[in-house]
């Protein structure tokens, strides 16, 4: 059994990764905050949740992904309008210093919004969390091959969407 980390240390170690992942999925800061709060509240009530997790980061990412799926199901049955509003203006990345990079960052944020959620989740975990396909398969409860193919589809679509933006900005 792993040594149990205090909640504040757990937060400090993983909150950034969880927030970035959730923000990419929900595309809404308030929802991302709520889901992080919900996850940590669950852990506070059941501190033994993480005791047998081999990879705490993967476990936490998996947990917030499940919370996100629950949220989407709830929204779909309750209020589609709210969801549509939430998808409008995402700010997914730290502001770069130059104007071109700022445009690029905005373009990538927009393009990510065009991807289906399952592809977006795989892309985020692979590119920004550096997860292997095996880890992604564990986090999203999908086969490794599915994770790999979703990644390939996501990259292809991003390339199509971003090629004009990249040409305009950097070539």
């Amino acid at each position: 059994m792993r040594e149990r980390l205090p909640l504040d240390r757990l937060y400090d170690e993983h909150a950034n990764a969880l927030f970035g992942f959730l923000l990419n999925l929900t595309r809404n800061e308030a929802d991302s905050r709520d889901l992080i709060q919900e996850l940590f509240l669950k852990i506070a009530r059941k501190p033994d949740l993480l005791d047998h997790a081999e990879n705490p980061k993967a476990f936490l990412l998996r947990s917030v992904y499940h919370l996100f799926v629950d949220l989407i199901r709830h929204r779909q049955s309750r209020d589609k309008m709210e969801e549509a509003v939430a998808l409008e203006t995402p700010l997914l990345f730290e502001n770069p210093k130059t104007g071109n990079d700022l445009e690029w960052s905005a373009g990538v944020s927009r393009a990510l919004g065009e991807l289906p959620e399952d592809q977006r989740a795989v892309l985020h975990l692979k590119v920004w969390e550096g997860c292997t396909f095996a880890e992604i398969s564990l986090i999203l409860s999908i086969p490794v091959n599915t994770a790999a193919s979703r990644y390939r589809y996501a990259l292809d679509k991003m390339e199509t969407l971003l090629r004009p933006v990249y040409k305009e900005l950097y070539e």
């Binding site: 950034n16 970035g20 923000l23 800061e29 509240l41 009530r45 730290e94 770069p96 920004w128 990259l155």
Partner: protein, 126 residues
């Protein structure tokens, strides 16, 4: 790794807002103290009496309370505001009084003859 992947990797996902740490940790502390109120039924009772095994009987009490709660009308009118137990009792007394009044004949109607008469005691009081 493709050029696109390299370009994407250069971007840094937005960091978690600095105020969220305090909110989350305070929420966890508060949440674990009062978490019994977030539950209902068995969970609620288990939270109130941790370690006890008499959840069955406690659940019965809970169900009785729930049944009483459901049995209590929330308003006189279907869409009216909730009323207190005392108000409900008062309204019930008033209703019983009115029903009793209705059941007491005030007029004696003779349908065959097409006329009616006022009872003698009413003539005395009015």
């Amino acid at each position: 790794m493709s050029d696109l992947e390299k370009q994407l990797k250069k971007l840094r996902p937005k960091a978690v807002p600095s105020d969220l740490r305090r909110v989350v940790l305070a929420g966890c502390e508060e949440g674990t103290e009062v978490h019994s109120f977030r539950f209902s039924g068995f969970s609620f009772l288990r939270a109130l009496y941790p370690g006890h095994t008499f959840c069955g009987s406690l659940a019965c009490i809970w169900l009785i309370i729930l049944a009483l709660h459901l049995d209590t009308p929330k308003s006189i009118a279907p869409s009216g505001p909730p009323i207190s137990w005392a108000e409900w009792q008062e309204a019930k007394l008033e209703r019983d009084y009115l029903l009793a009044q209705l059941e007491t004949p005030r007029f004696e109607v003779d349908l065959d003859k097409g006329n009616f008469s006022i009872p003698r005691e009413d003539l005395k009081t009015n």
